[in-house]
């Protein structure tokens, strides 16, 4: 065993390091950024500039075909670049969905002319894409979505509501899955499109989260007209297309959400328990050790996945555990940090709260992490069914026409 790159990987890593060193600031010297902010217009501009730089240097679309501006490298190179970029304070969270999910779906289903039009601008950071799947009545059960698409000549008319759409208010284009036929079972009545987010009848409203910030939107569709030429896949084949999108979820690159063990170590040196630094306390030490083992376990699980990629194998399901472990760990560490502070744990003023209120922010941010991108419960189902081959849940709606399926008031 070793942690070494192959010669090719090492050369690529050196190239990535040189690019980042010349064009970005290390996180360790950059001003700390709170994660709870709303993304502002100037940050979009910065993100676009950064994406353009990456494109020019050959670090956008690392695994994509050369004809679309990519480098046609193996997935391991994506991970290597991400490992290096993670050390730098660069704009994140604006292009991941478009380049990770939307454009790959386009590549599988759009026409060559459409790809000619859309792939380049997306890769160069000129146009931002979003994904419109979740609905108020279709979260974990996303195929229960109700947004209607009705045929009207060469167009479709879309009416309904999507939710939890990241960045919808600044996106240029989106991919959307709709219900085109409610008279057939739920998976069979879906149709998939891409659309201009500036189309008449599209309205975005930010959702205020419990942390007080707004990362997500509700998007309302009122008689939005989409040409049939923007349909992706056959009429009624929207579920299959959606699976393509979800299969393209990027390989987790291992950004550990904070506060994590290092932050807890720092905190337990600052705070006293029974007259001595908290880190001297046996109970505190046991907690630190437990979380250290989880954090390290995930890190080395990622290394095992990278090894499979590096050997040209398909990684096993190991990496599917990362989000389940990270989300609860974050919530527990944040809560424990506040416990150690005692009554002062309530105080969120960054001037007063240790580490600029990192633990308080974590407390209010972490519940979302256990839900977004697959709830803890859905992820455990996936592990049980796909990894352990246990039977699927009973689905009473499976063979019923969608409009005959019982639904609640919420």
């Amino acid at each position: 065993m070793d942690f070494d790159d192959t010669n090719e990987e090492a050369a690529f890593r050196a190239e990535a390091r040189a690019f980042l060193a010349a064009n970005a600031t290390l996180k360790s010297v950059a001003k700390p950024v709170s994660r709870g902010r709303h993304i502002r217009a100037e940050e979009i501009t910065r993100a676009k500039e950064w994406q353009a730089k990456k494109y020019a240097a050959g670090f956008a679309g690392i695994t994509w075909p050369k004809r679309w501006g990519g480098r046609e490298l193996a997935p391991i190179y994506n991970v290597i670049y991400a490992q290096e970029e993670e050390l730098y304070a660069v704009p994140r969270g604006v292009f991941e969905i478009g380049l990770g999910m939307c454009i790959p779906t386009m590549m599988a289903y759009a026409t060559p002319e459409q790809l000619e039009r859309f792939v380049g601008p997306a890769l160069r950071g000129e146009e931002i894409w979003c994904q419109l799947f979740s609905e108020p009545a279709g979260g974990s059960d996303v195929a229960a979505l109700r947004t209607r698409a009705e045929r009207d000549g060469d167009d479709w008319i879309i009416n309904g509501q999507k939710i939890w759409t990241s960045g919808a208010h600044y996106c240029d284009y989106g991919i959307i899955v709709t219900r085109s036929d409610p008279n057939v079972p739920k998976h069979a009545g879906l149709t998939f499109f891409f659309l201009d987010m500036k189309s008449p009848g599209v309205e975005c409203r930010p959702i205020k989260q419990i942390s007080g910030t707004s990362h997500f939107n509700e998007v309302f569709f009122t008689d939005v007209r989409v040409p049939d030429a923007q349909r992706l896949g056959a009429v009624g084949a929207g579920w299959k297309v959606s699976i393509t999108t979800l299969m393209n979820e990027r390989l987790a690159v291992g950004e550990v959400p904070r506060p994590d063990v290092e932050d807890l170590l720092a905190l337990t040196r600052m705070i006293d328990v029974d007259g001595e630094p908290a880190i001297r306390n046996v109970a505190v030490r046991e907690k630190i050790a437990d979380w250290h083992c989880r954090t390290q376990g995930l890190k080395f699980t990622r290394f095992r996945t990278m090894t499979a990629l590096s050997r040209g194998q398909t990684p096993g399901p190991e990496n599917s555990i990362a989000k389940v472990v990270n989300a609860s760990k974050l919530q527990d560490i944040a809560s424990y940090g506040l416990d150690l502070m005692g009554a002062a744990g309530m105080v969120m003023d960054p001037e007063l709260a240790p580490l600029h209120a990192l633990f308080q922010e974590g407390l209010l941010f972490s519940p979302g992490l256990r839900i977004a991108g697959g709830t803890d419960e859905i992820l455990r189902n996936i592990i049980a069914e796909r990894v352990l081959n246990l039977p699927a849940d009973i689905r009473v709606d499976k063979d019923k026409a969608f409009n005959q399926v019982a639904h609640g008031k919420r």
């Binding site: 942690f3 050790a289 250290h292 995930l298």
Partner: protein
């Protein structure tokens, strides 16, 4: 990135698994658990013949020279079948202690016998309740004779050689190597939670013994030996935890309740998903330990502690939830679940419990951060 075992070592794993499937069934485990034997002698000899016992012992001392990664593979496979042999005691503790602390004459004299299974070794640190602690070891080595008491000593009934945490004439901590075949030894078998890995009380009364390593370094040497053993035992624990998950999953697919397999209910699915998660984290931490042990990395203590804590907790979770998934049947003597439940706790205690290793882990984190 090359953070997995090599193809050659994976072949060793396949070979070991095939051999053990035939020579170490639950019938073999039960013959020790329920019988008078203290270990399965035929299996032990077979392991020696295939070179497993000497996997990490250098060829110049009669070993196979596969390195510690090879030994990790063997440990995992033995853990999968809850093998009733003194592997942990003789190979992971005693042979490691000789390799680490012995002088070249001692290595030449002793290691070949460990590799060939000709003598069985063990390591005695415990003196009743408590985890390993500096300056707590009372047996004294005076003029080549050891006097004192240790309990529980793993495989203390069958061992020929015993590495003893002790003190010298001047009261300095040392490791002593006692010859249990000589006179002045009283061994008393102890009733334990896992009779397939017996424990004994040993009273030394002028037992012939020699010093292993430098005087005064006994505590540091013991900790180093335990670090190395922690990695190897983590693989044994991981193997057991893997079997528990396989057993529980298979049973949940076959057992019906309320008209369908119980594995279709989320109460079972999510429980077993949690076991899978714990096992994967333990596996990844154990691999890091294997790397640190094989390469002699400075991170060994931290890696070993993480591997130990992860594997201990994963095996405990997997073995208890395996019984739970089996329902009433899992609580019977006839079902094999208890073989693993017993073993998980035994292995979780044998070189100090999770609390000891958590504390050691955080001490390491503090030192690293201070540096």
């Amino acid at each position: 990135m090359n953070f997995d075992f090599s193809d050659d070592l994976n072949q060793l794993r396949d070979q070991a698994r095939r051999y053990l499937a035939e020579h170490c069934t639950s019938k073999h485990v039960r013959s020790v658990l329920e019988g008078e034997k203290s270990y399965d002698g035929a299996l032990w000899q077979g392991m020696a013949d295939m070179g497993w016992l000497g996997a990490a012992i250098p060829e110049e001392y009669g070993g196979a020279g596969l390195g510690h990664e090879g030994l990790c593979i063997i440990a995992e496979e033995l853990g999968r079948v809850a093998a009733p042999v003194p592997f942990t005691s003789s190979i992971c503790l005693a042979a490691e202690a000789v390799m680490l602390a012995g002088n070249s004459e001692q290595k030449r004299r002793l290691l070949t016998g460990f590799a060939a299974g000709m003598h069985i070794g063990t390591l005695a640190w415990a003196e009743g309740s408590g985890n390993p602690r500096e300056s707590s070891f009372t047996p004294r080595l005076v003029g080549g004779k050891l006097t004192g008491t240790k309990w529980p000593v793993p495989d203390g009934g069958s061992a020929d050689l015993c590495v003893v945490a002790a003190q010298d004439e001047a009261g300095r901590p040392i490791l002593a190597l006692a010859d249990l075949r000589a006179g002045g030894v009283t061994r008393t078998a102890l009733e334990t939670i896992d009779p397939a890995r017996p424990q004994a009380r040993i009273d030394f009364a002028g037992t012939p013994a020699e010093q292993l390593g430098a005087a005064g370094e006994g505590w540091a040497l013991l900790q180093s030996v335990l670090d190395r053993a922690a990695v190897l035992i983590a693989f044994e624990q991981l193997g057991g935890a893997t079997t528990c998950l396989e057993m529980a999953t298979a049973y949940a697919q076959e057992r019906y309740a309320f008209g369908r397999p119980i594995g279709g209910y989320q109460a079972i699915k999510h429980k077993l998903a949690d076991v899978y998660i714990a096992n994967e984290l333990a596996r990844s931490n154990a691999y890091y330990g294997a790397w640190a042990l094989q390469t002699g990395a400075a991170e060994l203590t931290l890696a070993a502690s993480s591997a130990r804590v992860s594997a201990t907790e994963a095996y405990h979770l997997a073995s208890k939830e395996n019984i739970q998934t089996h329902g009433g049947m899992g609580f019977t003597w006839a079902a094999d679940c208890h073989l693993y439940y017993r073993r998980s706790k035994l292995l979780g205690l044998t070189i100090g419990s999770a609390g000891y290793w958590k504390n050691r882990l955080v001490t390491e984190l503090e030192t690293r951060n201070a540096a």
